[in-house]
């Protein structure tokens, strides 16, 4: 059994909404697990069940070999960082950090030692006497993290802790969280709706949709090998392009091109997915893209255009190219970089 073990965990709210369907998941000790999904997909509910803030309707949660279904949150030895930080407004930073330790009956000197160590690690030593209302967003974020670290819990839970920060600070804190987790080595679960955050932070990633884990794996596995239409569309930025197509006898026919020798025995209506970065310009390419808009990012360009009736088809071109509105580009797909999904079930049907 691994460190944290969820077995057929289900959440049904009193009004009958099923937020989490029989979900099973294992997290190893020291692992950084990220739950990612659109809002309302049940990822936060799952996290809150681990924390003990929501009752478990069905299933078991084991932490460090102990069944914790009925264990009170205060007894679970879990620390959580909330989206709005939930700092204690009437206590100064020092007491915010020390409160959880005091409740555990730890003696004063040890508390002071631990708080100072955590403060140093997070570079908040200068603010220990301040109240949370006198801190900036990034500092509050650090205090919230400090409150978790200082307790040295079995597991860290993060509930979208970066979404209240501005873009620049978010990237900076993202790095810091990752570094910190590597340094402290505590098992962590991080919930986010931001796929870039998910990709950069995770050791392993659980893509959740409608209360079901659609795919579980390392970020790169999920990026390279999405098993469903939903995962393919959710992971990767800019989003994967989707085209309607037909698959018959290993031949894929889209509106104006064909691909032969597809590694799949599936026959019928499919959706073809192509990532913008898997397209290359070449003469006599498969796809003719009529450029409508170019977003210049410096390092590369995002080219949006039209193929016949399909709008907003995206191609990522190198930044040194000049592409203008009205140009027509001839594009090929990199070898084996097409994702084919069953149009009805959304499951992937070809091997890569």
């Amino acid at each position: 059994m691994s460190f944290l073990d969820l077995k057929n965990v289900t959440k049904i709210y009193p009004n009958g909404t099923k937020a989490v369907h029989e979900t099973s998941l294992s997290v190893d000790e020291g692992e950084f697990m990220v739950f990612v999904g659109p809002s309302g997909c049940g990822k936060s509910t799952l996290l809150r069940m681990v924390a003990g803030l929501e009752d478990i309707t069905e299933g078991d949660i084991n932490l460090d070999g102990q069944l914790i279904n009925e264990v009170d949150p205060s007894e679970r030895d879990i620390a959580m960082v909330f989206q709005n930080y939930a700092l204690y407004p009437h206590m100064n930073v020092y007491n915010n950090l020390a409160y959880g330790l005091k409740n555990r009956g730890i003696d004063k000197e040890t508390i002071e030692q631990k708080v100072n160590d955590a403060a140093k690690l997070l570079q908040i030593s200068d603010f220990l006497q301040r109240k949370p209302s006198m801190l900036s967003g990034g500092q509050r974020q650090r205090v919230a993290m400090g409150r978790a670290i200082v307790r040295n819990p079995k597991i860290f839970l993060f509930d979208e802790p970066l979404s209240n920060l501005d873009a620049k600070l978010r990237i900076q804190m993202r790095l810091e969280i990752k570094k910190l987790q590597q340094k402290v080595g505590v098992t962590s679960i991080f919930v986010t709706h931001d796929q870039v955050e998910a990709m950069t932070l995770a050791d392993r990633l659980a893509v959740i949709n409608n209360g079901i884990i659609e795919q579980l794996g390392t970020p790169i596995e999920i990026y390279n090998n999405p098993e469903s239409l939903f995962v393919a569309g959710f992971i990767g930025s800019p989003q994967m392009n989707f085209l309607d197509a037909n698959l018959n006898n290993k031949t894929l026919s889209a509106e104006n091109f064909e691909i032969k020798n597809i590694d799949s025995d599936y026959n019928g209506e499919v959706t073809l997915g192509i990532r913008p970065e898997h397209l290359i310009e070449s003469e006599n390419g498969l796809i003719n893209l009529k450029v409508e808009l170019v977003e210049q990012l410096g390092s590369d360009n995002l080219v949006y255009g039209q193929i016949k009736n399909i709008k907003d088809f995206c191609y990522r071109s190198p930044g040194n190219q000049t592409i203008k509105k009205g140009d027509t580009l001839s594009l090929n797909i990199e070898e084996n970089k097409y994702y084919i999904f069953d149009k009805n079930t959304g499951k992937r049907v070809n091997q890569i």
Binding site: S74, A79, A86, N103, R151
Partner: protein
């Protein structure tokens, strides 16, 4: 120029308002420093006389009542004990009631709250006889306990605390739980300190309420030992100047409390941080 006129005009109105409120108080004070004879022959006085010390000392130390068992000083003490007791006890009970109403998610919390709230519409006088018989049964007439406890449940304070608790974000409770705080610790370590300003406001409010009680102390005490200031206003005999002096002194404690704590009072009642 027009601004000067409008602001001058509004100051004039304010000034009139102040006069209307202050002048009668001043006349009572000025009159209370004269001898009874002056008042009886020349009417109320606008200017200070020279009997201040004599009059006030007599009022404070005079043995009043039918049995001559009570002095004004003792009445002040009684009033102070009663008002403080009512203030502290009602703040404690309403803090706890509000905590239960907001955080113990029983099905009937809202219903219970409205039942409590409706009691605001029922004046104390309506239940005064049943309350009296309970106190009499329990042998608690003529005691501070009997003076204080029956009027120490405040629906208004409960309402204030409840509304405040409702604004406390849920994450705070959840975070405290994960930090190992149990139900009692969350109350003591979080809700009480967070509602500090409101507690002060309610203490003032309930102090003045307790201090101003008339009918209940009148009913529940038969021994003069337990007379309060407000009862004394009616019972006090003596010259008109002594009564004036007593009236004025009776106003001092509530005013003092409000002056000293008004900053907290305003913050507490209109709390938006």
């Amino acid at each position: 120029m027009t601004r000067l006129i409008t602001s001058g005009f509004s100051h004039f109105i304010l000034f009139i308002g102040i006069l209307i409120m202050i002048v009668p108080v001043w006349m009572i004070f000025a009159s209370s420093t004269h001898t009874g004879l002056t008042i009886n022959t020349h009417g109320l006085q606008m200017f200070l006389g020279d009997s201040f010390y004599e009059n006030y000392m007599r009022v404070l130390l005079y043995q009043g009542g039918f049995f001559k068992e009570i002095t004004a000083l003792k009445m002040f003490l009684n009033s102070f004990i009663m008002a403080t007791g009512v203030a502290i006890l009602s703040v404690i009970t309403s803090l706890m009631a509000a905590y239960a109403l907001v955080y113990y998610r029983t099905k009937y919390a809202t219903l219970l709250f409205w039942i409590i709230f409706v009691t605001i519409l029922v004046p104390l006088e309506l239940r005064i006889f049943p309350t009296y018989s309970v106190m009499a049964e329990l042998n608690l007439v003529n005691s501070y306990f009997g003076l204080i406890v029956p009027i120490s449940a405040s629906a208004i304070a409960t309402l204030f605390f409840r509304q405040f608790y409702k604004t406390v974000p849920d994450e705070l409770l959840e975070s405290a739980k994960l930090d190992g705080a149990n139900t009692w610790r969350f109350f003591v370590d979080f809700l009480v300190p967070l509602s500090k300003t409101m507690i002060v406001a309610m203490l003032i409010f309930m102090f003045v309420f307790g201090y101003n009680q008339y009918l209940w102390p009148l009913l529940v005490t038969s021994s003069e030992q337990y007379w309060t200031v407000v009862m004394g206003l009616k019972m006090m005999s003596g010259s008109i100047v002594h009564r004036f002096a007593f009236v004025l002194m009776s106003m001092v404690p509530p005013i003092l409390i409000i002056i000293v704590l008004q900053k907290h009072f305003i913050k507490g009642v209109f709390q938006d941080k």
